[in-house]
Amino acid sequence: MSVVTTDLDTAVADAAAHLYVWALKDIPQDLRDALRDAAGRETSVTGQRVLQTILRNVSVAEDEKNLVCQDTGIAVYYCKVGEHFPLHPARIYAALREGTERATVEHPLRSNTVHTLTRENTGPNVGFRVPIVHWDFVPDWDGLDVKCVPKGSGSENMSFLKMCVPADGVTGIKKFVLESIVGAGGKPCPPGIVGVGIGGSADYAMHLAKEAIARPVGTHNPDPLVAELEQDLYELLNETGVGPMGLGGDVTVLSVHVEHADTHMTLNPVAVNYQCWAARRASAHVAADGTVAFERDA
């Protein structure tokens, strides 16, 4: 689908409003395939019961045009802004905020955002520093890519950080991921995508873990060493028997994605960010002339 408009603020706001609702209703094909594969290999009775219910739910959401999951999450956007894109990031942020608010009011969607101390609702899924937007800037380009990842709290609550020491090595990284996912049990709605961020600093490791969960299932880190770690962790985690919804079974995770950054010689940070089976995401490309192209599977 593509839409042409001349007003870039409106184009970005419209795109955000569309992406937020779309992501909540229509989960990407790579995830649908991964869930179907999981049902194909699960041998436990409870695990089959869960996976068959999940597959039924995905098709009911489609038939009824309803949300896959009631948790409309906290609105998170990843933006890649070309250096020649004609709208300044401050204006892009305002437009994303407006789009989030409009989608929440017009659909309507449940408003989840509260003041972190008073716990009072702050309005239609916007608030102080919400939505959360991550920025990347691209030289020699005039476009804007927006990916909306409305992530539920059940899985976000299962986020873990450990400042391993260099002597812990790769084994320390693996142990921490394993103990985190076993400890999380059924709470993050397994089987999902495990995002792991390694290196950088404490804050950046968690940022990378979050970025990792937004990658399509079936993609691998381009660095062969890191891709090998992804595969090792995937196999080990599926040996734990936690299973679908933590009720026991063969399929504990659909995929493990690792993102890395170089780090200080004395640091070895490991961050784990879990993404539930309803790993919702949707993307749009906004061209400099305001043309918007939506893509579900990016």
Partner: protein, 195 residues
């Protein structure tokens, strides 16, 4: 593993005692939606809930709804939240209000096993995130109380073929979560030894 159909609220404790961890259950009748703030109000602020909870099935939820008029809401999307945050209310719900079943996702930690056995209660595991399906099984929102806690109000839903649910913790001291967790921890020791 057996399959059962149970109608709530229950009056006969045998309806709960027949259920064993791992069994599949489909629920009919009426269920009550409840969440963090609802239970904080009941137990921490000591305010009596304006709904009868005896023999009740409680669902950990905060639904997406559209207001139609005073006290009247249309369901939009109703799903289930993580239970573990609310485990400390289990005993009070059983002792003070006679609640018989608590349903949520992700399970209750082991501290719920003893009071559930003593009080004849069960924990039902629903499939988290499967809200589109769950919404079709809720026929109507019949009552709502404490609307100022929106969406964490007390909700009364009429349901049809609600499920499939899995008995996560039964009234005989059985818990799937404890069993899965202890096997997984043993497995981890074995994995660590070969890393």
């Amino acid at each position: 593993m057996a399959t059962h159909e149970v109608r709530f609220p229950v009056t006969d404790p045998a309806e709960i005692l027949k259920l064993r961890a791992g069994d599949e259950v489909v629920v009919q009748g009426h269920i009550i939606g409840i969440r963090d703030r609802t239970q904080i109000r009941i137990f921490d602020q000591g305010i009596e809930p304006p709904m009868d909870l005896s023999g009740a099935f409680l669902l950990h939820t905060a639904p997406n709804v559209r207001k139609l008029g005073p006290g009247k809401y249309e369901k939009l999307c109703i799903g289930t939240t993580t239970s573990a945050r609310m485990v400390r209310f289990t005993e009070g719900l059983g002792v003070q209000y006679g609640v018989r079943a608590i349903c949520g996702k992700g399970g209750f930690p082991d501290e719920a096993i003893e009071p559930m056995q003593r009080l004849g209660m069960v924990y039902f595991a629903i499939v988290g995130g499967a809200a589109a399906l769950e919404t079709t099984q809720i026929e109507e929102i019949e009552e709502v109380a404490w609307e100022e806690l929106m969406p964490e109000c007390l909700w009364k839903f009429r349901v049809k073929d609600f499920g499939p649910l899995t008995v996560g913790i039964d009234a005989h001291g059985g818990s799937l979560y404890r069993d899965v967790q202890s096997r997984a921890l043993e497995k981890l020791e074995e994995i660590y030894a070969r890393l």
